[in-house]
């Protein structure tokens, strides 16, 4: 006998993500889900970002890794609550992990929650965490055709951050090509080019972030 099912396999995760999104809608919290391959400089980018956010917003950070508390130790130096999520092998964060660890960083409502996903350009892109913005990071040492090779995340992301641009003089990385590839996959994506090392482009990135936080708060206050 044939049975029609027509059910979304990601349903359980999506339902929980919707609960989280609703909660953050009410609290006016902007939530970022940062995704990239390992070694693209996510954590360094966040360190330099948190430095610039001090005194400006109430932020919290959840950071996913397969092993070690290393990233949480690095990120906890800036006066914001940080919690490491150790996935013990799972290649991505899921909504239930966020729900479980959220109370550790979100005691009385945040302006901004930053989720640093497990380093992986494929798997995390399919798991909704209830975020407002998926942000994909790509370093100039990785090759400019990554957007074409991993269209899923570049399609779903609201912003793409090209990191380590201070290394451009030493590489054959084609910046014009990467801009074109990113926009071929997703013409509406917000593209940022920066160096966490020498600070180039950092102000524009942080201002964009603060603008997003402001926008969500305003929507929240006007309700």
């Amino acid at each position: 006998m044939k049975v029609e099912v027509q059910k979304n396999v990601m349903q359980a995760n999506n339902e929980l993500a919707a609960v989280l999104r609703d909660k953050w809608e009410k609290s006016g919290t902007t939530v970022l889900n940062i995704i990239s391959s390992p070694g693209s400089g996510k954590t360094t980018l966040l360190e330099r970002t948190l430095e610039r956010l001090q005194g400006k917003v109430k932020a919290g950070i959840l950071v996913g890794d397969i092993q070690t508390e290393n990233d949480a130790m690095r990120l906890s130096k800036y006066g914001f609550p940080v919690k490491q999520i150790i996935t013990s092998g799972t290649c991505h964060l899921e909504a239930h992990m966020i729900e479980k660890h959220l109370p550790d960083v979100d005691a009385d409502g945040l302006d901004l929650l930053i989720i640093e996903n497990v380093g992986n350009l494929v798997c995390p892109s399919s798991y909704d965490l209830g975020e407002d913005l998926k942000v994909v990071a790509l370093s100039v040492t990785e090759g400019e055709d990554k957007p074409l090779k991993y269209p899923g995340i570049f399609r779903r992301a609201k912003a793409a951050v090209i990191t380590k641009v201070d290394l451009l003089p030493f590489l054959d990385f084609d910046m014009t090509a990467v801009r074109e590839y990113v926009h071929t996959i997703n013409p509406d994506i917000h593209l940022v080019e920066l160096s966490s090392k020498n600070g180039e482009g950092m102000d524009a990135w942080v201002n964009w972030l603060l603008q997003k936080v402001d926008e969500k708060k305003k929507v929240n206050l006007s309700r």
């Binding site: 006998m1 049975v3 027509q6 991505h92 399919s126 399609r155």
Partner: protein, 129 residues
């Protein structure tokens, strides 16, 4: 390797659906996989065929894999756009590449073929063949 998490979810959902339909065995399951999921078919099949043995009704299930395109809405002309090749997504009507995802972006259990315990299934079977 998100295939393992996905396979785990699929097999447990199939087992539940099959129990609700009073099935005694699931012969086959058709799975629709969005190209946006970036799932590797062989990898998913391997995970499914490993995990299915953990459940009573799926031990011998054959999984049929179908790739499905993504549904977009064109933000320029409002047309519904169906796309399989994500490397160059454009609206077939107006040529705009400003598109928003509307569906076909996940993995779906489409249907399954089951063997029913006739003695236990009464009204449920009427809707069947």
């Amino acid at each position: 390797m998100h295939e393992l998490s996905i396979a785990d979810q699929i097999v447990s959902m199939v087992e539940l659906e099959a129990k609700e339909a009073h099935a005694v065995k699931v012969s086959s399951v058709t799975i629709d996989v969005s190209v946006l999921m970036e799932v590797e078919e062989d990898n998913l099949q391997f995970c499914l065929n490993t995990l299915k043995k953990e459940y009573s009704l799926t031990a011998e299930t054959i999984f049929i894999y179908r790739e499905v395109p993504v549904e977009f809405e064109c933000l320029s002309c409002g047309e519904k756009v169906i796309i399989s090749d994500l490397t160059a997504p454009v609206c077939q009507e107006c040529g705009s590449s400003s598109l928003d995802i509307r569906g076909g972006d996940s993995i779906y259990i489409a249907e399954m073929e089951v063997e029913i315990d006739e003695s236990r299934s009464t009204e449920k079977c009427d809707a069947g063949e």
